[in-house]
Symmetry: C2
Subunit: 379 residues, 2 copies
Amino acid sequence: MPDDLPSSTEALLRLVLAGGALAPRRALLAGFDDPALALRAGPSAWRAAGCNTEQRALLALPDRATLAHGLHWLAQPDRHLLAIGSDDYPSLLTRVDQAPLALFVQGDPTALWHPGVAVVGSRTPSPSGAELAGEFAGGLARSGLCVVSGLATGVDARAHQAALGIADGRTVAVVATGLDLTYPPQHAALHARIAARGAVVSEYPPGTQARPGQFPARNRIVAGLTLGTLVIEAAMRSGALITARLAAEAGREVFALPGSVRNPRARGCHRLIREGAQLVEHPDEVIQGLAGLAASLGKDLRSRLDAPTEQARTVRGRVPPSSDPDYQRLWKSLDDNPTCMDSLIQRSGLTAARLSAMLLIMELDGKVVANHGRYCRKP
Amino acid sequence: MPDDLPSSTEALLRLVLAGGALAPRRALLAGFDDPALALRAGPSAWRAAGCNTEQRALLALPDRATLAHGLHWLAQPDRHLLAIGSDDYPSLLTRVDQAPLALFVQGDPTALWHPGVAVVGSRTPSPSGAELAGEFAGGLARSGLCVVSGLATGVDARAHQAALGIADGRTVAVVATGLDLTYPPQHAALHARIAARGAVVSEYPPGTQARPGQFPARNRIVAGLTLGTLVIEAAMRSGALITARLAAEAGREVFALPGSVRNPRARGCHRLIREGAQLVEHPDEVIQGLAGLAASLGKDLRSRLDAPTEQARTVRGRVPPSSDPDYQRLWKSLDDNPTCMDSLIQRSGLTAARLSAMLLIMELDGKVVANHGRYCRKP
């Protein structure tokens, strides 16, 4: 262990690289003001926190090449490492079992705080399944929600692409490799576009190759970052069902598209619906279905968006009311007086379903205050 | 009113032809041992039962031509008029609101006592919807259930045809006209085939033309005769949704096939699933879904099948174990000792899902006794 204090980022990266059980490393992070101090505290403090022999050895002597590679990657612009418990680590994710110790982020970390929906499904969807992935993700992005998915082929890629195709559309990819790599490799350009517009996220340090066990682990981040998970098409053994199960376990909503009983890729969705997932036929139904969570989980998101970092403040300017004409009509229909839904329908000419979906997004964004069924602009 | 006592059948037909409110006419039927005695009791007794002026006038002076036409129709072989409260009137139907005063039956009236499932849906199904109607109705008929539907074009006709295509397959059509007519007329041959194998049923006397209001009324009989209703494809304003709602109100199971969100004829099914209908992908799931009702409603059916009329006894010989090889294997696996499901799976080589569906049918048929999850042949 060197005598000079490592940077906070280097210390956090070394905690990540130590691997093994999460709890002792979370205890070290929680026990010191700065990861660097946790690292300087030395083997007895590490042992007291519960680190085993292997973890203590790696904390004392990390693999120099891996560490250097990670630090080099993190030194480029728009690259971040967010420690659990820090202000920037997304609070919804903190609530899931085995929340990652830290998140590598390429792009805008405040995208992780934006109200999001996971859009997941088969890697080999039917042609109409692929189209529906695009239609639903596009609709959700147009409504102001962040579309979160896994950068896989099939439904994931279509969902990301559709969100990118919307003006101001926001999307986050959670991947199972280090962020210096892309899996599958042919999605490198998509990876770059998502990083430029939203964020690409991983719990794995740069240099980490794709390994089978990492994909289900990745799914818990997809489920944990979002208010709900929408499954487009999924066969009975699809990883999308894992994401949906983890979302339900974390108290998030689960939505599924039905399909023909002759479509084997609808089986997983039908199973989810039987188990209690909401059957949806339109993106607005997803947004309406999230209303129940807005009261509880939305508070976490709002508190962050109310007291943002410099970076988040810039992002705030981009959230709805955005360029979408419906949002502009709704915004003009609102003022400082609490107004009931019926009046908003009359003023805006929009349907109740569309309005309630839009009001939820604006409430989550901290633009609108809802009280006993009446809505006004946030003072 | 003639001085000579009319036959019971003529008297019952005159009560039907009197029309108007059901309750007074039911009161007359219940108050006398025989409809003929109710008719002879005269205007003061009719008034005491609650009959209004018009009903009393029609009871005293029925339309002679209509009465003669009805009696002539009833005089042919295999034609029946079953009064509510009589031994042959199906007891499941008695439980619904506004149960018909009497049922005209062409064919075998004991078919109405057989455990049945309504298979209903769009008059203009998609090609795959029409095929699925046939596959599901065929599967249910093969399992020994009676397929009940409305003789309409589309799903109804496919369901009847599929049941007729199964050896020993049983089907009942409930129609909205008098049984001397067929609506739509092109289904006259199908009508005749159903009457020859099962039964065609109506609450309307011979000579009654199709009128719009009679179709929803017919649907309450479809729902009321059966343990559950399966909706194959239905647009948002489909009559099949009325049947499903009436089935739910009568405490019967409702099943619906999901479809693509792009198929407008799946909308009604999706609405039903959202409202609590069971999503099904296979006929066996329908049969399994009826298990909950077997304990309560099944008792009514069993009591009739245990103490049948001469006609019903003949039918008993035709119920499973039938020519279906799976039933024969299961029957050979059963004996007088209560046997658990695991042993039956081992003995028969059938799946648990298939076995439980078949055991339900055999239990409803009074062939098998179930007790604490163990099954034996009925002594």
